[in-house]
Amino acid sequence: MYEFEYHQPKSLEEATKLFADADDPQFMAGGQTIIPVMKQRLAMPSDIIDLGKISDLQGISVDGGALTIGAMTHHNEVAGSDEVRKAIPALAELASHIGDPAVRNRGTIGGSIANNDPAADYPAALVALGATVQTTSREIAAEDFFTAMFETALDEGEMIVNVTFPAPEKAAYEKFPNPASRYATTGVFVAKTGESVRVAVTGAGACVFRQIDFEKALLGDFSPSALDGLTVSTDGLNSDLHASAEYRANLISVLAKRAVKHAG
């Protein structure tokens, strides 16, 4: 690892100031991506600003039909939260399958979505559930938040404060995990809310995306058989040593059907 200065601010204001005053700063949430990346010398920030001690970024709360999760909430906290299990069980289930138990004790929802790894699980949940990302300066709809591979709508120095999820009527997430990393080779999150159905796919392309033709088919008939006969184009899908684009296209169909079945 290259040398850097380490800071542990207690407030968002302090973190913002530290970021503004540094040459090439980097916020750190749970550190489960940035620390390995720095160890590989693929990043050399001048300053690491650790967000772990900022109380405004912690906690889970429910208000009416909406669930709000602080950016620095660990995956294991989401997985084990009675509030999450009650409001959106599919989200707790998703969190319980991220990485492994040690990673889940450090990794955070804010860090995961700010990194926007194309194979991360949370982006699919945010897009399918129509979540809203509250930052230090604005609210961003999930669909506008994830812009490209490892890129988000966040500006320099802008921090995620929390994410609010409207509770759906039905939802489920199914993934085909890479057996080594447990990242999604492909993952599909399906959510039904009133007169709307959303199907969000992660791991298959450069960035999370919605499978619009699946959504239309499920809107009239929310059952796995509604997806029979629909084929997924391989255009824009990833092809790598783990899976070809054709394999991923098939996984999208298979996992979407499983998710619909699982959602009930």
């Binding site: 040398e3 489960q32 620390i35 590989q40 492994d100 040690a102 447990r182």
Partner: protein, 155 residues
């Protein structure tokens, strides 16, 4: 350099650490607790798992500076008064190791699993050890050991 104070295996420790030191480096190179193994250095193998405030984490994926104020338990802290922890006993009795390199991380993760899930069953053990890699034994004896160790921990 940040000066941090923490508790390691019940003992108070104050250390002057470089920001870029990993917690595993503090434990091994500064405190001489070499039972915490660094297997892959890419945060995938789990040999460096320790307990931070009672929870299993990978000490190679956490900065030493982040451990300021933390309660740390390493594999050296499990045995009490010369008597092995029940999970360590179970690993020995069930031949759950061959070369032994992954064992400290396996044991630390297994103790955490058994503590957090009193009704730990075999599928939960397999899922819980997903982040701990063994390249010798094929895992079956490890699973057997964790089931026995978890039962012994329940008393």
């Amino acid at each position: 350099m940040p000066v941090i104070s923490l508790t390691v295996n019940g003992n108070p420790v104050t250390a002057d650490v470089e920001p870029r030191w990993l917690l595993s480096r503090l434990l091994r190179d500064h405190l001489g607790l070499t039972g915490t193994h660094v297997g892959c250095d890419t945060s995938q193998c789990g040999a460096c798992v320790i307990h931070v405030d009672g929870k299993p984490v990978k000490s190679c994926a956490m900065l030493a500076a982040q451990a300021d104020g933390a309660q740390i338990t390493t594999i050296e802290g499990l045995a009490q008064k010369g008597k092995l922890h029940p999970m360590q006993e179970a690993f020995r009795d069930n031949h759950a190791l061959q070369c032994g390199f992954c064992t400290p991380g396996m044991v630390m993760m297994s103790v955490a699993l058994a503590t957090e899930q009193p009704d730990l069953d075999e599928p939960a053990v397999r899922k819980g050890l997903e982040g701990n890699l063994c390249r010798c034994t094929g895992y079956q004896n490890i699973i057997n050991a964790v089931m026995v160790g978890a039962k012994a921990m329940r008393g």
